[in-house]
């Protein structure tokens, strides 16, 4: 178990480093550097910067040094929590992002739990009652979930809500709550708004997990030990839940590991369609305006939080699944 844990931790660390390198590449990709952009920005305001000043600024930010050193300097600042200044907003990046990062995570994590709670019972049901009406409904819903990309689903929901019910389904808060400071009332407001985007996000993942769970459980249910258990007179519910479901959980569990990055990814586009105050719309704005420090920071933080989230869900599943816990002990 310790070996497993250590492996997971090292892998998470490597992933974080990979993400940071990619982020750095993204920040550096647009032609020109930070100083060029800054000067251009000032020129719009009417003030000018002399060539000497520009060189001095480049030196100050370390832009005249080799790229590896620049990366190290940038990482050093990032680790201390200094993500630079947003060009667009003229404020520190951390201030601009504010609550949005946590709201992104709140939506994604809710979607994660929703996926599990939808997929597990429906998966079990459609395996145990194979070819029943319920199974067909679940399978059909599964295919729909698979076929409609979540941003399209959000778009269709928005349209239906607007056209037929005259309500705006977007946002995470009621209009009067959006600017209010955090309070219990605001938290409650958030709880009331989060299920819709979370459902939109969870549908595709659930569809996949239902299929996996159904297929695995069907394989398990045909095994002789299930017949034995039945022959011994154990109640049907106990027969199913106690052994085959637990055995069938393994592939279910291992495919869940990639669920969280997928959900975070999806939340970006869905947020844009539904107008959620997450980092999604901010990221798009930043990218369009080439505000690379802001964009880079969002990509970096999202990536790292995703890694942490995946790690956490791995640990959770390790607790559920003894076979992973006991790995490496044999």
């Amino acid at each position: 178990m310790l070996i497993y844990l250590a492996r997971r931790l090292v892998l998470a660390l490597v992933t974080c480093v990979a993400i940071s390198v990619l982020t750095f590449v993204i920040i550096r990709l647009p032609p020109g550097d930070f100083v060029d952009a800054y000067i251009a920005n000032l020129a719009v305001g009417g003030s000018t910067v002399s060539a000497d000043q520009a060189t001095a600024m480049r030196h100050e930010y370390g832009l005249d040094r080799p790229i590896v050193v620049q990366y190290a300097l940038w990482m050093g600042r990032v680790i201390q929590g200094d993500f630079g200044v947003s060009m667009m907003w003229r404020r520190p990046v951390t201030e601009v992002i504010g609550d949005r990062l946590w709201l992104t995570m709140a939506v994604s994590i809710t979607a994660l739990f929703l996926t599990w709670t939808i997929a597990l019972p429906i998966g079990i049901y459609s395996a145990v009652r194979q070819y029943s009406i319920g199974d067909y409904i679940a399978t059909t819903l599964g295919f729909i979930g698979l076929a409609i990309p979540n941003f399209l689903l959000a778009l269709i929901l928005m349209y239906v809500g607007f056209r037929y019910f005259g309500l705006s389904v977007g946002g995470l808060f009621s209009p009067d709550m959006a600017q209010a400071p955090w309070s219990w009332a605001k938290l409650w407001d958030l709880m009331a708004h989060i299920p819709l985007p979370a459902c939109v996000l969870a549908l595709a993942g659930s569809a996949q997990l239902i299929r996996i769970m159904r297929a695995n459980l069907l394989d398990e249910l045909r095994k002789p030990y299930v017949v034995t258990a039945r022959a011994k007179g154990i109640t049907e519910a106990r027969v199913i839940v106690k052994y085959p479901v637990r055995a069938a959980l393994n592939p279910f569990v291992s495919s869940s590991a990639y669920l969280f990055p997928y959900l975070v990814s999806g939340s970006i586009v869905v947020s844009l369609v539904l107008g959620l105050p997450t980092v999604g719309p901010l990221l798009l704005q930043a990218l369009v305006a080439q505000d690379m420090f802001l964009a880079g920071t969002i990509v970096l933080l999202l990536g790292i939080l995703t890694v942490i989230g995946t790690l956490a869900s791995d640990l959770l599943l390790m607790w559920v699944e003894p076979r992973i816990r006991l790995q490496g002990r044999a």
Binding site: L155, F162, S168, Y262, G266, L287, L302, G303, T310
Partner: protein, 373 residues
């Protein structure tokens, strides 16, 4: 297929014994009815890709302010009980309150629809210059035209745009899968063939790539493409960006097959008679896992198509004047616009259809890939 018509069981047995692997796979595939239908749907879509301009009725790029937001309009096949396909002409009516010009069909004016009419010029297969189109109305003037799916804000015919968009949306999937396939076979093959440290390294690399949230990353990379790039350059850059992430699944499949086949008797036999490594891979191993790769490819294609659609939908993928499904959906992003012109959502239908078809096709192929199972 022909399997069903064989009369005696013995003859059937014979046929099964003599059939090549390809035949067995095909028979097995035909048993999966949804997959066969999906194959037909996918084939149809690619026919549309090839004949896109021929099937379009109006120049997909031509804007006309007078044609803005014309609702969809069907073709009436009969006229007074006689076979005379036609569409109604349009009559502009100004709303007395909002002063907005709205078009309503004018049944008095009938525009005959004909086959193989002259329209805008294009190159068939990119080679033969022509102006023939499958159907249309001869010499349409002003707002006269066929608007099967209505028009967008700039007065461009949505049906024609959708047909032409199919070309980019479906070919970008193919190009992307091609690239991922090269990466996947190379890395997965090396990983499965050599094992040991190389295998561990590549497997960890795959895990790292898969645990990065892809869309923010793609957005970052796509946004960094210079504005000055041409449509073709952006097209290839987007393909590259999308396939950088999606090779992992293919690599996993290839590695799994290599690991399984390495221990097979026929591979060991080939090794013992002194066949070279390359010959063993190409002549002995590849034929037995090609079908698995094809299945994996058909499951990877819809992912590519959705990725491109999502990126273009956000305005970070392909840029106008390129036309793809994502770009068409971009117009439908605003709920207010959508409420006034719900037909803009039509662009979602082919996306959903193609994803479903490829998924069923992939499922069928995956089952058929192991005809002995």
């Amino acid at each position: 297929m022909t399997l069903a018509v064989t009369s005696s069981a013995a003859a059937r047995e014979d046929r099964l014994a003599q059939a090549s692997q390809l035949q067995l796979t095909w028979w097995r595939f035909c048993r999966h009815r949804l997959a066969v239908i999906s194959l037909a749907v996918v084939a149809l879509f690619y026919v549309v890709v090839i004949f896109a301009d021929f099937l379009a009725v109006a120049d997909p790029h031509a804007t006309d302010a007078r044609r803005s937001f014309i609702p969809p309009q069907g073709i009436s096949l009969l006229d007074d009980g006689a076979w005379r396909p036609h569409v109604s002409g349009l009559k502009g009516v100004r709303d007395p309150k909002t002063f907005k010009l709205a078009y309503t069909p004018d049944p008095a004016r009938k525009l005959p629809v004909a086959l193989f009419v002259h329209g805008y010029s294009y190159n068939l297969f990119g080679l033969i210059p022509t102006d023939r189109h499958l159907f249309g109305i001869e010499g349409g003037q002003g707002v006269d035209g066929i608007f099967l799916l209505g028009t967008d804000q700039l007065g461009r015919d949505l049906y024609s745009r959708l047909v032409v968009a199919t070309r980019i949306s479906l070919s970008i999937g193919l190009a992307g899968v091609g690239l991922s396939l090269i990466l996947g076979i190379l890395l997965g093959g090396v990983s499965g063939l050599y094992g040991g440290v190389v295998d561990t390294l590549i497997q960890r690399l795959i895990e790292v790539v898969r645990s990065i949230p892809t869309i923010p990353l793609w957005m970052g990379l796509a946004a960094a493409l210079p504005n000055t790039w041409s449509v073709t350059q952006v097209y290839f850059a987007i393909t590259l960006i999308i396939s950088l992430v999606s090779w992992t699944e293919l690599a996993r499949v290839v590695r799994g097959r290599f690991l399984a086949l390495r221990e097979e008797d026929f591979v060991i036999a080939a090794e013992l008679v002194g066949a070279s490594q390359l010959r063993i891979i190409l002549r002995h191993m590849l034929p037995s896992f090609a079908s698995h790769i094809i299945a994996a490819v058909s499951l990877a294609l819809p992912v590519m198509i959705v990725s491109e659609t999502a990126l273009s939908f956000l305005g970070l993928g392909l840029r106008p004047p390129a036309i793809s499904w994502g770009i068409l959906l971009q117009d439908a992003q605003n709920v207010q616009v959508l409420a006034g012109a719900p037909w803009l959502l039509c662009a979602a239908v082919p996306v959903i259809l193609v994803i479903l078809a490829f998924n069923f096709l992939g499922d069928g192929l995956r089952d058929a890939a192991d005809p002995y199972g």
